[in-house]
Symmetry: C2
Amino acid sequence: MRDNRISEAVISRLPKYYRYLSELEAKGTQRVSSSKMSADMGLNASQIRRDLNCFGGFGQQGYGYQVNNLKNEIKKILGIGKKYTAVVVGAGNIGQALYKYTNFAEEGYNLAAIFDADQSVVDKEIDGITVRPIEELADFVINNEVNLGVITAPKRHAQRIADELVLLGVKGIWNFAPVDVVARKGVCVENVHLSDSLFVLSYRMRTNGED
Amino acid sequence: MRDNRISEAVISRLPKYYRYLSELEAKGTQRVSSSKMSADMGLNASQIRRDLNCFGGFGQQGYGYQVNNLKNEIKKILGIGKKYTAVVVGAGNIGQALYKYTNFAEEGYNLAAIFDADQSVVDKEIDGITVRPIEELADFVINNEVNLGVITAPKRHAQRIADELVLLGVKGIWNFAPVDVVARKGVCVENVHLSDSLFVLSYRMRTNGED
DNA sequence: CCAATTTTGTTACTCATTGCAAATACCTCC
DNA sequence: GGAGGTATTTGCAATGAGTAACAAAATTGG
């Protein structure tokens, strides 16, 4: 709480800390120092302390950080545990996979329904899930107070779907279509481009260290 | 080719350029300037020129960049189009989704087979694909000259699978398990943490701009 | 064919981020 | 309860990334 401007770089490391601390907690570890975190995670110890200090003095000199406490603080910072209600739009491969993936629910992200425009997959129970027709999207979002939209539709529809979701009042868009979806101020967008990461991997494989 | 040290930041923007240029090419656009790219992609024009110039002078003063040519150059830089043979290890939701996703094949990434350790899903044709038993992984990788491993197994198995794949000679690991898989020097690893991006989105939704 | 315009390649500058080291605070053990 | 050790703070230096400004070069139009 000491600096109002938290950099993107810091934010993007928080989930990693969260993951690491969850592991420690599961192992029953009570306390951890920045130097141990550094050794385990491959980040500079100084950077870790600095990052955490952006949000408050969680550590104690001469002792380190209390694992459970720190984990919960980061959880609060990231907004994990707040109840989110989401819809998945696009019942293709990725859409179905995300919808069926249960780990998100455990963290409080409830993927409440999945929609598709293709009549051939709608209203049939595929592999245990029922795909709803896109025409019901608006009603569902409003009646269930959906605040998060997951877009897994083909790229040509992505922006239009995003626009509709925003109009319906969602506060966040998690987009998997290979375009950069945009939204008006006040709505948060996270574009996930799987192939981008594959291309970066491919670049590294080609150049392998030196260039 | 003017600077041997290309920063991560530059590399991570290349796929975005590639995507954008592919769109332009599909529309039949012949030439593009850095200022147009800037306007369309929301990046600083100066940065775009600088990024591209890391790899050579692709542009022409007074003219701009030739779309088709630049796209192909970036394609080469990223190593897209080279033939990769990959295996997917873990036939859960994400594994199946990636395996069935055909766009990768179009870019030269051939996902040749999918494996799982769970006997109940093995050797049965599920939704058009056949899952192979994990015991056949080694033979398959060697016989088919697999150079890329995609890990979509539970996190407790991820590192062990990675180690085996590396031992079998793959040169790249594309990991979707929620752990940071590591590999010996010479093998490239790209860890994709979907929930990380969800958490970052969740943070932004909570703080929404100001903090 | 020449001048005006466009647009890149490149250098210089600013700002953010990372890394380091001294200082401070707290725990632990005797 | 005090001394020593441990680990965070905090301020500062160095590195790196992003932006702006400019000069060189090529195109375009008359």
